[in-house]
């Protein structure tokens, strides 16, 4: 799904969620090559010129999430949770930590020991970033989310300074794990259900699949 379509879909779901018309959602998508820049991002972290990007078939898209610049593309599992945090913890920091936990637990199931680096939001394996996080919140409803490198062609990150950090990136494939986006998506969705349900005692015990909409 291209970035603009996913962006529009999110926007629609956020409005419906704010109005209480729909329950929480988790969108899991794969984008064609695109570089996106957060609201507080710095254009200078885009290292490649517009022409180079165009020649490489990479779109450029300013967007309204937190965080700096990042790349999305084939082989990357992108998740957009549309959650009303008022029904969770009303805590954006806890929300980001919970997203990290979901990804860390997912990677653990594939035998990858991933973790956090204090003050550097995201999920890291041996000092390399495997998943990026950038969130937008409007009236406690979340949008945007995370991007987990499953079999991403990491050379595309050379066009940018990911999130403004000069730290290397990695992927599950680069760590020797062969998995499809679907495989990872199912495992991740199960962890997502667990992490967010068990923290939400008021929610009826939903099965892992009940609150997600997969559009891979």
């Amino acid at each position: 799904m291209d970035y603009a379509t996913a962006f529009e879909l999110q926007r629609r779901l956020v409005v419906e969620r704010q109005q209480g018309l729909i329950p929480d959602h988790l969108l899991l998508v794969e984008h064609p090559h695109v570089v996106t820049l957060g609201r507080n991002g710095h254009r200078e972290n885009l290292l490649a010129s517009d022409e180079i990007l165009e020649r490489a078939g990479v779109e450029f898209h300013p967007t309204d999430r937190g965080g700096d610049i990042t790349y999305h593309g084939p082989g990357q599992l992108v998740g957009y949770p549309i959650l009303d945090l008022r029904e969770w913890k009303r805590d954006v920091a806890a929300y980001v930590r919970a997203i990290e936990e979901v990804i860390i637990d997912t990677l653990a199931d594939f035998g990858i020991a991933a973790g956090r680096i204090p003050k550097l939001t995201g999920v890291w394996v041996d000092g390399r970033k495997i998943a990026a996080i950038g969130v937008h919140i409007s009236r406690w409803v979340t949008s945007h989310g995370f991007a987990l490198n499953v079999s991403t062609d990491l050379s595309y990150f050379e066009y940018i300074v990911p999130c403004g950090l000069t730290k290397p990136v990695t992927s599950m494939a680069a760590l020797g794990v062969r998995a499809t986006l679907e495989d990872v998506g199912y495992v991740l969705a199960a962890h997502f259900g667990r992490v967010f349900d068990c923290q939400m005692p008021l929610t009826a015990p939903a099965r892992a699949g009940a609150r997600k909409e997969e559009v891979i």
Partner: protein, 439 residues
Amino acid sequence: MTDVVMPQMGESIVEGTLTKWLKKPGDRVERDEPLFEISTDKVDTEIPSPAAGTLSEVMVEEGKTVGINTVVARIEENGGAPAAAKPPAQAAQPAAATSPEPEPEPVVEAAEEAAPAPPAAEEPAPAAEPAGPLSPLVRKLAREHNLDLSRVTGTGAGGRITKQDVEGYLAARPAAAAEPVRPPAPPPVAPAPRIAATPAPAPLAPAGPAKTRVEPLSTMRIKIAEHMVLSKRTSAHVTTIHRVDMTAVAKMRERNKAAFQANYGFNLTYLPFVTRAAVVALRQFPLLNASLDGNNIIYHNEINIGIAVALENGLIVPVIRGADEKNVLGLQRAVVDLAARARSRQLKPDEVLGGTFSITNFGSFGSLVGTPIINQPQVAILGVGTVDKTPVVINDAIAIRSICHLSLSFDHRLIDGALADQFMSKLKQVLEGWTEEVQ
């Protein structure tokens, strides 16, 4: 007139950066209409207006970081004539008087989400700070270069110090000449030492990008560091390691795992089994449950077991009181409860005091064997390694058993090796011949 304040976006968040005003002074705003945007960590949030009316005054300019509950704007409800917008920088001092800053939690993770200094601390000391407002960029530059701004001559409007002034000053400083200005980092920035209080020493690296980064220790880290060194200095640490066959425990655990999850909603791990076995051994060898006070031995009649809990930025050891009165179920419940509350920073102060013996379960992180440091004033600590299926020789045949290495660090001032190993043998015997029901 309604005050618009920086909202609290979460328990550990003490401040936020106002990134964008969506309305200008004088604009009409509806209740719940997005008014401004803030940024905390990697999260951007639109903040809706608390009231309908006219945005009469904007007190915090874009790019400023202020504490929660700081008044950032005022809204005139009856649509009265808006006061002329004050220059934001001048009015930008956080309204500390009207809304006292909540004390950041001293313990866990407080420094994680945001720089710990509440806005009041950013208020410059009058003597060292030059007159006139400072832009966030100038403050940031000064912080990065550890620069005393009172030495910089401002050339901007009203003697205001501009970015060019700082850069000019830096260029004139010989040692700093080659240090490039680092590109702006995304928030949160590392807590920086207070500029006004520290005279500027010459930067260490004269050329190239900064090779080091200075960050003050969190309160918790300082406490941990002091405690660890104190313990090493106090006790004569010796560690003994025993290999324990956990197969009987593993079977018991397998049998009850599903029931635990279904009945109590938590997992059954190896830790409560080890804790229970330690209690039995401590009863038999009370010297391991004692403390040393000068030339006196203090025997504790209660068995209160500290369980080390890893936190994102540190470690805390909450205590299971009366551990000898609990079965495996009770111990597991206590472990789950204490660990969860330790991680969400909801432990009460007395819940980390009064331990008589400690257990640290580094096996959960994959460690085979460790040599833990004694938790003073206790005299011994038990380390639990991973439980792995391992080929072992039993009666000259090779069998697959669940093997775990237990290590005991003890204070040789009070406990000799023979006693420590008797204690460990007892523990091993309980675990290897496990029969006790768990619930």
